[in-house]
Amino acid sequence: MSEAMAPFRLIRPASLDEAMAALAVEGAQPCSGGTDLLVRLRKGLLEPAALVDLTGIAALRDVVCDESGMWVGAGATLATLARNPDLAAYPAVIQAIDSVAGPTHREVATLGGNLCQDPRCVYLNQSHWWRKSNQFCLKYRGDTCHVAPKGNRCRAAFSGDVAPALMVHRAQIELAGPAGARQMPLAEFYNEDGAAHTALQPGEIVVAVHLPPPGPVSEYGKVRVRGSVDYPLAGVAVACEPTPDGLRFTLAVTGTNSKPLLVDIPDPLGEDADAFFAALVKTVQKAVSPQRTTTIAPHYRRLSVAALAGRIARRLAADAP
């Protein structure tokens, strides 16, 4: 018998209204595929009074494609999205989805769960006895961040693959909560704080992601130890679009900070391509701040994600019309 999780009530609403009502109760936690949440519950990393299972809400699984772009419900599973022909027009998104966890996780893992998944750290994602013997940590039950003991915030790293890919395609995120619906650029949904990394207010959930009509070519790459079932040590999405001034690049990085990071590349590709890509690599190196949140050294993650960004950007430029 597995070690018992702290008791909770499972609530299975059939509509968004029912879910909103269930989530309005203190201590209620939304649950989609559970591939992030159930693991954390089993490790005793949170003790919600109730889990509100969103998987019975058909409206959250809708995927609509029209002239305004794509509307992807937060409850759509990664396995269904990977097979969606319309989403193929956003290559980095499909590649990122395909690289999440393993195929069995992706059968139930949802887009909303992927975007909201908890930031990770070697001092956090451990069993209860491991954490207890280490006096817990700043994020949960302790008072010190073992990664940056002098700091006053949690440095756990956001490690979702899909967010950066959506960000370079300028996705908007739609939320619904007790105060009504709201929408914002996905990049603005995140905070640089491992203990409070999203803009979600109590009782609020992600309803959908909206992608503008396809434009840029894009690619997602990920540095990891194994070829499957591995979180990104660092990952980068690159989009490339022709403008009157030349090719413009948009980058977003995951796994290095407590939020997925948009990296600004102000100038378009000029005459001297080698100098441009060398500068792009340096910009990424400077922008990211990997910490000792994984067993792999932060410096390696900084250099490798920047190198990967450079490689992908060159590839996209070479293929650009």
């Binding site: 909770f8 059968e107 079932v229």
Partner: protein
């Protein structure tokens, strides 16, 4: 701390109708192993990392160690015990036996259930498709080569 709750779930396990009272926080793997005595499904890690607990829920592969039994109300569940029919091993079980796809055997129930899900969707998978489908199932013994051979052999047998 939340107040625990119980509920009655009705589901099918390997074709048999089952109705039981389960606590909301009971994992499917514990329900199968401890309440149903179906110990073929294994627990190889402390949550979501190894694939040993793979079962089929409504025909699709699922990790029973991060699935709540209460959320399976009304579902059709298949475990390794449902593979053999009337004393005869399934094609996958025979292939794993004949092609040495099992060594210590701990990962094997999960490997076979994940392969079963694959073959139902894609009866003629190439090697890449098999590797992808078993990407979440870890084996410490075989080195995977013989597992892939076993799945290929089972697929070939089903086609012949």
């Amino acid at each position: 701390m939340g107040q625990g709750m119980k509920r009655v779930v009705s589901l099918k396990i390997n074709g048999r109708e089952v109705e039981e009272v389960v606590p909301d926080n009971l994992l499917l793997v514990d329900f199968l192993r401890d309440r149903q005595g179906l110990t073929g499904t294994k627990t190889g890690c402390d949550g979501g990392e190894c694939g040993a607990c793979t079962v089929l829920v409504n025909g699709r592969a699922r990790l029973s160690c991060i699935t709540l039994a209460a959320s399976c109300d009304g579902s059709d569940i298949e475990t390794i015990e449902g593979q053999a029919a009337r004393g005869r091993l399934s094609a996958l079980q025979r292939a794993f036996h004949q092609h040495l796809g099992a060594q210590c055997g701990f990962c094997t129930p999960g490997m076979i259930m994940a392969s079963e899900a694959l073959l139902r969707q894609n009866p003629s998978p190439d090697e890449a498709a098999i590797r992808t489908a078993l990407g979440g199932n870890l084996c410490r013994c075989t080195g995977y080569v013989k597992i892939i051979k076993s799945v290929q052999a089972a697929a070939a047998e089903a086609r012949s």
